[in-house]
């Protein structure tokens, strides 16, 4: 569907408001509306551009779930940009704003309804855009695991000032990297049994080359945001604002870099980049 709109120059491309959106972006907008949410023209244009940039960079296909956290409501933020699958649900205790969604650090989490058993073993990534710079108790930003040996999760800033990313045998396949703060776009990716990397805002912060011998798709736990899914029980609650999260196949170095560029452009358009 095409219509008359105001062109907005974003990321070297023109996104057109009022119609003419990418079909996948439009489907997302329709899901938001059907759920009772609303998006501003700026949010629609930014989201449309994000889809175009991800497709252009070859990082749309590897995605299983993309939560752009736009619309400042549970109805809008629960929607998966990639498809009508994996619509999430929020517990009580979240705050919704144009800048993203913020869990209370005590009881709140987001259930993506995407289980680890739908993932591809030895090809997985998770990402979380944290707008909060703080330190404190051990908090988990994205997680699913069996409570003992097998996890897919990231803790963007543990008590000691370290990023922790687990893919999959814990703690053998953990990236434990000293970082300066808890703000930025964190991407944790495994592309084969011995290649596991993590980036913070496009800077490589850690690599794990230990062979992993377990199968992430052999366990069945939903991926949570804002807390750890510890064998079906939420704990390690986070209070860091989330402005984007994704779950999907593993990303190469180039894909991870292009992913950062696309997401950062998206955040900048929405005036919520860090």
């Amino acid at each position: 569907m095409f219509g008359v709109g105001v062109g907005v120059r974003v990321g070297g491309r023109t996104a057109v408001g009022g119609g003419g959106y990418d079909a996948d972006a439009q489907a997302f907008f329709d899901r938001v509306t059907a759920a009772g949410g609303t998006l501003t023209t700026t949010e629609k244009n930014a989201t449309n551009q994000l889809v175009l940039d991800m497709k252009s960079a070859g990082i749309w296909t590897p995605m299983k779930a993309i939560y752009p956290m736009v619309g400042a409501s549970a109805a809008a933020c629960a929607q998966n940009l990639k498809s009508s699958s994996f619509t999430g649900t929020f517990t009580s205790g979240w705050t919704f704003a144009s800048t993203g969604v913020t869990p209370n650090g005590t009881s709140a989490f987001f259930d993506s309804n995407l289980s680890t058993n739908t993932l591809t073993n030895n090809s997985t990534h998770i990402s979380y855009y944290s707008r909060t710079n703080n330190a404190g108790a051990t908090m988990s930003e994205l997680s699913g695991g069996n409570g003992s040996t097998l996890y897919l999760q990231m803790l963007v800033y543990r008590v000691a000032g370290n990023y922790n990313g687990d893919q999959y045998v814990t703690p053998t396949n953990r990236i434990d990297a000293a970082i300066a703060n808890s703000q930025g776009f964190f991407v944790d990716s495994r592309t084969n049994s011995t290649t596991h990397k993590a980036w913070k805002s496009n800077s490589l912060i850690g690599t794990d080359t230990n062979a992993q011998l377990l199968n992430i798709s052999s366990i069945n736990f939903n991926m949570y945001a804002g807390a750890r899914n510890n064998n079906g029980t939420a704990d390690l609650f986070s209070n860091r604002q989330c402005a984007f999260a994704s779950i999907g196949d593993g990303l190469t170095d180039t894909q991870a870099s292009n992913f950062y560029t696309a997401v950062q452009t998206f955040q900048t358009t929405l005036s919520r980049n860090v």
């Binding site: 759920a35 009772g36 549970a74 109805a75 629960a78 619509t87 999430g88 649900t89 929020f90 517990t91 009580s92 205790g93 979240w94 705050t95 919704f96 209370n104 005590t106 009881s107 709140a108 989490f109 108790a137 051990t138 695991g145 409570g147 003992s148 040996t149 996890y151 803790l155 543990r158 814990t170 703690p171 953990r174 510890n230 939420a234 704990d235 390690l236």
Partner: protein, 76 residues
């Protein structure tokens, strides 16, 4: 300091996991003494006030003292 609503076991059983909108459900947590607490954001309160669950807004409130953090990394 976190202030939340205190729930009896019966009240907890009534609300835990119940959806108050299509995309939001109640999640309670136990404090260091095993007492159930419910935390609602200001936005939650506005929404809940219009639902059958409005009674939770009349529950007594108290300071929440969390239990010791769970182990990390997890132990086998």
């Amino acid at each position: 300091m976190s202030i939340g609503y205190i729930l009896t076991e019966s009240e907890y059983a009534q609300v835990q996991g119940q959806f108050y909108t299509e995309y939001q459900f109640f999640n309670c947590v136990a404090d260091i003494d095993g007492v159930w607490f419910l935390f609602l954001s200001d936005e939650d309160k506005q929404v809940v006030a219009t639902t059958e669950w409005a009674w939770v807004l009349d529950l007594p409130e108290a300071e929440y003292i969390p239990p010791p953090p769970p182990p990390f990394p997890p132990t086998e």
